[in-house]
Amino acid sequence: MNDDVALVDLLDRLLGGGVVIHGDITLAVADIDLVHISLRAVLASVEALTCPTSTP
């Protein structure tokens, strides 16, 4: 690993990437887990829904 690694590189991967056990994001209120969100499913849906307009 080279010297140019910034904190954001580490955080992006270790806290934002990797295999997750309980779903990408857990939404909790007052320490009670309520909803697991698979972010990849959300992102894929947004990508799929945003059909590019055609270019002539």
């Binding site: 904190l7 806290l15 994001i25 887990d33 972010l39 947004v46 945003t50 590019p52 002539p56």
Partner: protein, 107 residues
């Protein structure tokens, strides 16, 4: 900005965790739109005036997003704050009631 693995809202900061999610989604849509605008430019299907208008709108949106981040305290570059923002609340799988911040002798 990447999201924490767990967003634990409490009465003091209800909007903050969820605001991070919303900001991220807006950023994602903004990125998709900008990418599409770039493709249109490279395809030659936009006039100079349209390009300028699109670009200015995106710039305004970017500035508005920065304002939103500041309002919700999501713009911190401080190392400790970034870490806390990324990993708000007990980590996934930690049994409720245990303090995840106690040091480990094995380390």
């Amino acid at each position: 900005m990447t999201l924490p693995a767990r967003i634990n809202t409490d009465p003091e900061h209800v909007e903050r965790g969820l605001a991070g999610l919303v900001v991220m989604l807006i950023d994602l849509v903004r990125e998709l739109m900008e990418r599409q605008a770039v493709r249109r430019i490279e395809g030659g299907s936009l006039s100079a005036e349209e390009i300028e208008r699109l670009g200015t709108t995106f710039m305004k949106l970017e500035r508005r997003m920065e304002e939103l981040r500041r309002e919700f305290g999501l713009d911190d570059d401080d190392e400790e704050d970034l870490l806390h923002a990324f990993a708000a609340g007990p980590l996934p799988g930690t049994p409720a009631g245990t303090d995840p911040r106690r040091p480990l002798s094995e380390w």
